[in-house]
Amino acid sequence: MTIPLLTAPPGSAPVLRAVDLTRSYGKGQARFDALKGVTLDVRRGESLAIVGRSGSGKSTLMHLLALLDRPDAGRIEVDGGDVSRAAAREINTLRNQRFGFVFQQFFLTAGQTVLENVSLPLMIAGVPPRERKRRALATLDLLGLADKAGNKATDLSGGQKQRVVIARALVNEPDVIFADEPTGNLDTVTGHQVEDILFGLQRDRGITLVVVTHDEELAERCDRRITIADGLLVGRADAAPSVVTDGADR
């Protein structure tokens, strides 16, 4: 099976492009326009912060970019290819192979070991068990959790759990990691450690990072930030040159 979108060579096109996205929920009186026309490029290898208040539409924008949801109007391009009309199967494969997710809550399966939790995307991809174990262990090792592989996921501390979640997002070697309030559930020190890991991955492996947050400090560390208010893109700002990584220029 060849999916053109997966094999397309990374050219000059942005890794993700949103064109005039609108999305509303409900009907009639209860209708709520979450996004009212947002156009945005996400460049390969950059770190992008999407900031805004609760209910501004920033989460909706991330869901659309991550292909978890479909826009009412407008289109999403991945590597320059329109995926608005792609089949569900194709989009599932795309998410599985190219995207990684880090959520505010850990969503680790309680009864399973750390290794099994990390292997989940590989299992969904249909990777054979032996290969799955090898890659999951390698990823855990990268995040300094190799010795916890056999532990139950529930036996870990908050910071360790979030590192497991990052390992899970990383195990399928994605191009883009979507992080929705990745430090929201962590204390300041642990939060900083997790941020360091994420930005380290972006810097060292060229992984594009899309972070949804209302944490000013975290947004400051990103190459670029956009502000969403009432379903519209109201501000773009590039960070100070000192924090811009090489990735943004690639």
């Binding site: 978890l68 599932n92 969503f107 991809a125």
Partner: protein
């Protein structure tokens, strides 16, 4: 996701909430247990009746009796001096009306009938081993239908109805009494049968034992061939009275391969008999009534176990709905990571199938264990007089069918919860604001 991974995950998920799964499995267990037992009971009894039918029937005979009179509208029947006689005594085989020689001739004239033998009821007073002047005598009853069928033989051969010698098939329990060490030793020996003739004189007939028969539910007493019954019946017939018979046996000529009698042959002869105001029944027809009653009882028992299964299936729906509810986040996460709706559906419906398999497998195993114990106890105790009867017959195919049916029921119960899981919106599932 690989199919093996789905099966493994589904199995593990089924055991995630052990108490809940155990209780659901138990409710299925009850259904599987009763269904397996009733199926085995039905198979056991049917198998026994079928064996009896084949032991009784040679397959090429019809029992002929006068047709039951349905003529009720035209007042009293006119007297016909050459008509049939009424029986003066109750007869288990036929109606009150007896066949006469005209009827026998009519039967013999029907196309497809090879020959016809009347069944004459004879009464034998005693049987004794020959050789001494004053041997021990034992009561004996002769099975009137022995001339039409076969016996379940322990030794020897079936009766030869056309033989010139008087032949007897001896019930197994007479062996000791008559001084035979084994069934094989009795074959070919002659015995004396004492009877009372019509003129109240004591008579003795000699007969050769050609076979030794096991006891049977449907045929009891000794078997006598046509030669022997004719000899006794002639002596017992009231002088001057025309011959009358409760029932006659029509031997059919077969049109099938090797002269086998086909269903079509039987149908043709039955129609011919009906034209002659006679009714013909095969042995299977007569035993069919027994089979129908047994099937009715088994049917009721099966209905009960199906009610239990229906109740259990609601249990599965409930269990899985709770499971889907609890794992909303997990489902959302898996879907976000690219798991297709079909795979999510497969994961949950397979979990139902696993629960179904557990309940069905354990229930069937328990039923086989307990049923075999009951069967052997019954065979040694209350049913010892019916050799060949296995009360509960566990056929691997029907046990497998029961398990598969229950797994199917479980799968169907899992469809609703699995659909709910498959249709979950990952964004809704992962919302935490």
């Amino acid at each position: 996701m690989r199919t093996t991974d789905i099966v493994r995950s589904a199995t593990r998920n089924a055991f995630r909430s052990k108490l809940r799964t155990t209780l659901t499995v138990l409710s299925l267990f009850v259904g599987a247990f009763t269904l397996t037992l009733t199926t085995a009971l039905g198979a056991g009894v049917s198998d026994y009746v079928t064996k009896q039918v084949s032991s009784l029937s040679t397959g090429d005979v019809l029992l002929v009796s006068p047709a039951a009179s349905t003529d009720t509208t035209e007042g009293p029947n006119e007297y016909d001096p050459n008509g049939r006689q009424q029986s003066s005594q109750a007869n288990p085989l036929g109606a009150g009306t007896l066949l006469n020689d005209d009827d026998l001739a009519a039967i013999a004239a029907i196309d497809g009938v090879d020959r016809v033998d009347p069944i004459r009821q004879v009464s034998v007073d005693w049987i004794a081993a020959p050789g001494s002047d004053d041997p021990a005598k034992f009561e004996l009853s002769v099975n009137p239908t022995s001339s039409i069928g076969r016996s379940d033989l322990a030794a020897g051969e079936q009766l030869d109805q056309q033989a010139d010698e008087a032949q007897l098939i001896l019930p197994e329990d007479y062996l000791d009494a008559l001084g035979f060490a084994s069934a094989d030793e009795a074959i070919g020996q002659s015995v004396e049968l004492g009877y009372t003739a019509a003129d109240r004189t004591e008579q003795v007939a000699e007969a050769t034992i050609v076979g030794v028969a096991r006891a049977s539910l449907l045929a009891s007493g000794a078997g006598a061939n046509q030669q022997l019954t004719a000899e006794i019946a002639d002596a017992q017939a009231v002088p001057g009275q025309p011959d009358a018979y409760a029932i006659a046996v029509a031997y059919l000529t077969g049109s099938g391969a090797d002269g086998a009698v086909t269903d079509a042959d039987v149908t043709v002869v039955k129609a011919g008999l009906a034209d002659a105001d006679l009714a013909g029944q095969t042995v299977e027809d007569q035993l069919g009534v027994i089979q129908t009653v047994i099937n009715g009882i088994i049917g009721v028992l099966t209905a009960f176990s199906i009610v239990a299964l229906v109740a259990a299936s609601f249990g599965i729906v409930n269990t899985l709905l709770m499971s889907v509810q609890e794992r909303t986040r997990e489902i959302g996460l898996m879907k976000a990571m690219g798991m297709s709706n079909g795979r999510v559906f497969g994961l949950f419906s397979l979990e139902a199938v696993v629960i179904g398999f557990l309940g069905a497998g354990l229930g069937a195993l328990a039923a086989i264990g307990l049923g075999s114990a009951i069967s052997s106890v019954a065979a040694a105790g209350p049913l010892a007089d019916l050799p060949g009867l296995t009360l509960l017959l566990f056929d691997p195919v029907s046990v497998a069918v029961v398990i598969l049916v229950i797994m199917l029921v479980a799968f169907l119960s899992g469809v609703l919860p699995a659909r709910r899981a498959a249709r979950q919106d990952p964004i809704e599932s992962l919302r935490y604001e």
